[in-house]
């Protein structure tokens, strides 16, 4: 009887260890998206969509400059202090207003890229975010960056799986992912 109990205990310990192992390398992609450049957001979205098409779970963590890409151009948030208002004016309002990391040429670059993307049948950023939502790609927004930039939740895009969290959540997600990227 005691032997049985001991065996059961050992099995339970093993089960716990196995589930820990299974969770340590999930078929999951985690990207820390920090850059707010149009080309880099594009890269993050294309890789995410390819991963989602491969049935890989995708978790994006948006922080710092990348938050601009998640602003909704039609929304505004009242009651901001002076600095937050200034940040709001200085930073791009939404994914259509992002600049390029190279060859920006005062806005000419993005215009040319958008023209070329259309010509080459590449999905627009808007279409990519829509597909991402349909494919269940999760977007987590860094709460601390929100405060830093003075953005409010009311001015962010409508997205099916949008949540707000801290760096710990990203680290926890990334720790379970077999692919981790920083863009």
């Amino acid at each position: 009887m005691e032997d049985n109990q001991e065996l059961q205990q050992q099995i339970d310990i093993l089960k716990k260890k196995i589930s820990k192992l299974e969770n340590s390398r999930k078929d999951q992609l985690s990207i820390a998206v920090v850059s707010g450049d149009m080309d880099k957001i594009l890269a993050a979205m294309v890789i995410s969509l390819a991963a989602a098409a491969m049935d890989t779970q995708v978790k994006l963590f948006f922080s710092f400059w990348s938050l601009s890409a998640l602003r909704d151009k039609k929304k505004s948030a009242p009651g901001k202090d002076f600095i937050s208002k200034m940040f709001g004016i200085m930073l791009p309002k939404g994914k259509d207003k992002l600049s390029l990391s190279n060859m920006n040429m005062a806005g000419m670059g993005p215009m040319m890229i958008k023209y070329l993307m259309k010509k080459q049948n590449v999905m627009s950023l808007g279409e990519m975010f829509k597909s991402a939502g349909e494919l269940g790609i999760e977007i987590a927004i860094c709460e601390m960056s929100m405060g830093l930039m003075g953005f409010k939740k009311e001015e962010m895009i409508d997205y099916p799986k949008l949540r707000y969290c801290g760096a710990t959540t990203f680290v926890a997600d990334a720790g379970q992912s077999s692919i981790q990227l920083f863009i």
């Binding site: 969509l49 098409a53 049948n121």
Partner: protein, 83 residues
């Protein structure tokens, strides 16, 4: 499969992804594969060069059997059997 075999194949579903670049054809394939039964054959039409490499990799991961490609003038036909 040989070119001759592919030419004579009956496909259960044709996905026309010629109007989109990477990752469009892959997303189209993912969307369409749900409409095909296991063991049935799906054909993807793509004008995107990268897709020729990407779809076999996708099949490998999803455990579908990649059957091969047929080149047309301005696009490629890619064949696979659903797992």
């Amino acid at each position: 499969m040989t070119t001759e075999e592919l030419k004579g194949i009956t496909t259960n579903l044709i996905v026309d992804a010629r109007g989109t670049a990477c990752p469009g054809p892959l997303l189209a394939a993912k969307k369409a594969i749900g409409d095909v039964e296991s063991g049935e054959i799906m054909e993807i039409l793509s004008a995107d060069e990268g897709t020729k490499v990407d779809i076999p990799r996708w099949c490998e991961k999803m455990e579908h059997e990649f059957l091969g490609t047929l080149e047309e003038d301005s696009y490629t036909r890619l064949f696979l059997r659903k797992a």
